[in-house]
């Protein structure tokens, strides 16, 4: 088991290096750079653009260096000093901007993940065990609808309904009075209340997908001979279903965490923009549009790292759950 963990962690390293290169190239893709954007903005506002200032700006940010040197500077600062560079747009260090938001993103995603599991597991099990019952049809239909509704549309609809019928706006993660307040019990409670709508929005499509997956997995297991063996032992129906086929059906289910968590993190991007949440999403969008390269790069990098870690966690969980993998 230990060897397996070490192996998996070591495998992560080349992936992470490759991801950092891709993230860097991605933010270098647009023609021109931040200074060009700035110059364009300035001239649009009628200001005169002094070429010397622009050159100085470029030098200051190392924009005139060859691309590999720029990458090396960027990544070595991150890895060695935890310095993500400075946001051009906000004019503050990137790390000041992202950690808080990354934390909230993670909290939101984890809540959505738990929500997804708590809802989809029992429904999926019920659907499979009572195949072709009314309940199964209803669950399956809802799951299909849940998959078909885009996150942002659901967010819009919920916002619209809340606004129309309760006259409240459900955006943001904190009420005005807690926005800049230090952490306290009240603030946590306030956060929890504000999390409900985003969690529902984020969790719906995942729940729908997992209901389908659980149902299919369990149907594969339900008719296997070892289930009949357990039945022939005299176990009661629910006990044997929960103990044997559900246990086996959980394996492929667990391997879905690998993509569920990253999916949530990345899905949260769009939802957060609609619901105006102080998570990474809106910041990333703005940084991308403004070509705020260090900020955008840092966020793409961090989100990718989260994805890789999510995959790692699900692989380890799977190994822990399934002796066949553990013993290989």
């Amino acid at each position: 088991m230990l060897a397996y963990i070490v192996k998996r962690v070591l495998y992560m390293i080349p992936t992470l290096i490759a991801i950092s290169i891709v993230a860097f190239l991605l933010i270098q893709l647009p023609p021109g750079d931040f200074v060009t954007t700035l110059a364009a903005e300035m001239s649009q506002q009628g200001d005169t653009v002094d070429p010397t200032t622009l050159r100085m700006l470029r030098e200051q940010y190392g924009l005139d260096e060859p691309i590999w040197t720029q990458y090396w500077l960027w990544i070595s600062n991150i890895v060695l000093e935890g310095d993500f560079g400075r946001s051009f747009d906000w004019d503050v260090p990137v790390s000041d901007l992202i950690w808080n938001r990354l934390g909230l993103t993670l909290v939101l995603s984890l809540c959505a993940l738990i929500f997804t599991w708590v809802i989809s597991l029992p429904i999926g099990i019920y659907s499979a065990v009572r195949k072709y019952s009314v309940g199964d049809y209803v669950a399956s239909f809802l799951a299909f609808v849940g998959l078909a509704v885009p996150n942002f549309l659901l967010a819009l609809i919920l916002m619209y309904l809340a606004y129309k019928f309760f006259g409240i706006s459900v955006d943001g993660l904190f009420s005005a009075e807690y926005e800049d307040a230090p952490w306290s019990g009240g603030k946590v409670l306030d956060l929890a209340q504000h999390l409900i709508v985003p969690v529902i929005v984020l969790g719906t499509s995942g729940t729908a997908a997992l209901v389908r997956i659980m149902r299919a997995n369990l149907l594969d297991e339900l008719y296997k001979p070892y289930v009949t063996t357990a039945r022939a032992k005299g176990l009661s129906e629910w006990r044997l279903i929960l103990r044997y086929p559900v246990r086996a059906a959980l394996n492929p289910f667990v391997s879905t965490i690998g993509w569920a968590l990253p999916e949530l993190v990345s899905g949260a991007t769009v939802t957060a923009i609609v619901l105006n949440l102080p998570t990474t999403g809106p910041l990333l969008l703005r940084a991308l549009i403004a070509q705020d390269v260090f900020l955008a790069g840092a966020m793409i990098l961090m989100l990718s790292v989260l994805t890789v870690i999510g995959t790692l966690i699900s692989d380890l969980l799977l190994a822990w759950l399934d002796p066949r993998i553990r013993y290989k």
Binding site: I19, P150, N151, L156, M159, E263, L284
Partner: protein, 396 residues
């Protein structure tokens, strides 16, 4: 069905069981099969799959709906009452009209007109339907002219107001007084083809790389698998956003359109490649493929004659299930303003108008393009599900 029995074999869903002991009996006494099996025994795989698919009523209905939607996409100019860009500032956020045949006195297809009222609470000016006014509508009416498929110019529309100057907003109007119905119909064309083109690209890469991976195995497989794993390790939406944001805003719409489909298929091909690879790997060691190899079949012959037909249906199902993912992705990107941009009309672009919750509160019909997305995606998913079930007509 005769009085025969079965052992552990679960009764199959096909008309008869290939393991049918009644058939085995034939061999014993050498008699020919009776007429009971006529047809089935001469039915090829596609026909069997079709029979199996037909039993899935929801999938059949969805299939018809999907065909209809593509029909709408193809004939958008003719089906839409107005051009997508036709605006009328007078009718900003005009609500949907009601279509009626009977106005209390006489028959005649018409919609109600509008009158302006002041909302007593907010003191804002609002349109309300005015049953007193009557705007007659009809079929094959003259309207704005368009070039149909670049072939000829025409100005007939399937239906619309008899007098082109009078307003007809069956699904309401947007900020500039443009007809939502017409815009949704035009949006169908863009959104549906983004899905198709994106999937076609994904399919090309998926089959090529998945096929190479599965057929040759070994190092080729290893390299391609690592690439796929790596692509999957990058979070999709930030990747899309990064790539989409890199498209220069000055690019003409058609090029933006193709860039977006390429971006979407960049991630989409991995899923298809996995399906193809898995099938190839499983198929490569099938006895009947080995048998064909021993018959002297060439590698190309093996792939084209034995392996591809066996999983073509699986690919069709996978493709059908991949289209809705593309549509949803395009919609999300355009909604965020980094996908397709006006004046191109797609469902996502239309939904951009609904970003502000206060606007949605006054004009909830701006969310209707979302309905189009949901219905289309649902139909494609049901269809894909049915196709997947029917894909292997020989399974139980």
């Amino acid at each position: 069905m005769g009085q025969y029995s079965t052992d552990d074999v679960a009764p199959r869903e096909l008309g008869h069981d290939p393991d049918d002991p009644a058939l085995a009996e034939m061999e014993d006494d050498g008699t020919e099969a009776d007429g009971r099996l006529m047809g089935l025994e001469r039915a090829g795989a596609w026909r069997l799959a079709w029979w199996k698919f037909k039993r899935h009523k929801l999938a059949v209905a969805s299939g018809i709906l999907v065909l209809l939607i593509y029909f709408v996409a193809a004939f958008a100019e003719f089906l839409a009452p107005a051009a997508p860009g036709d605006y009328a500032a007078r009718y900003t956020y005009a609500p949907p009209q009601t279509l009626r045949i009977w106005d209390g006195e006489e028959f005649g297809l018409h919609v109600t007109g509008y009158k302006v009222e002041v909302n007593p609470e907010s003191l804002a000016r609002e349109f309300v339907n005015d049953p007193e006014q009557k705007i007659p509508v009809g079929f094959f009416v003259r309207g704005s002219s368009y070039e149909f498929w670049g072939l000829f110019e025409w100005d007939r529309h399937l239906f619309g107001p008899l007098d082109p100057d009078q307003p007809m907003y069956l699904l309401g109007a947007d900020r500039l007084g443009r007809d939502m119905l017409s815009r949704i119909i035009y949006g169908t064309r863009i959104s549906m083809t983004v899905g198709l083109v994106g999937v076609a690209l994904s399919l090309f890469f998926g089959i090529l790389l998945g096929g190479l991976s599965g057929y040759y195995g070994g190092h080729v497989d290893n390299v391609i698998q690592r690439i796929i794993e790596f692509l999957l390790a990058i979070p999709t939406i930030p990747l899309w956003m990064g790539l989409a944001a890199a498209i220069p805003p000055t690019l003409p719409p058609v090029q933006v359109y193709f860039m977006i489909t390429i971006i979407l298929s960049l991630v989409g091909w991995t899923g298809l490649a996995r399906v193809v690879r898995g099938r190839f790997l499983a198929m490569r060691n099938e006895d009947f493929v080995t048998a064909a190899r021993l018959d002297g079949a060439s590698e190309v012959g093996l792939i084209l004659r034995h392996m591809l037909p066996s999983f073509a249906s699986h690919i069709i199902a996978a493709v059908t299930l991949a289209i809705p993912v593309m549509i949803l992705s395009e919609t999300a990107l355009s909604f965020l303003g980094i996908g397709l941009r006006p004046p191109v009309v797609s469902w996502g672009v239309l939904l951009q108008e609904a970003q502000n919750i206060r606007t949605v509160a006054t004009a909830p019909w701006l969310l209707l393009p979302g309905m189009a997305v949901v219905i289309t995606v649902l139909a494609l998913n049901f269809l894909g599900d049915g196709l997947r079930d029917a894909a292997d007509p020989y399974s139980k």
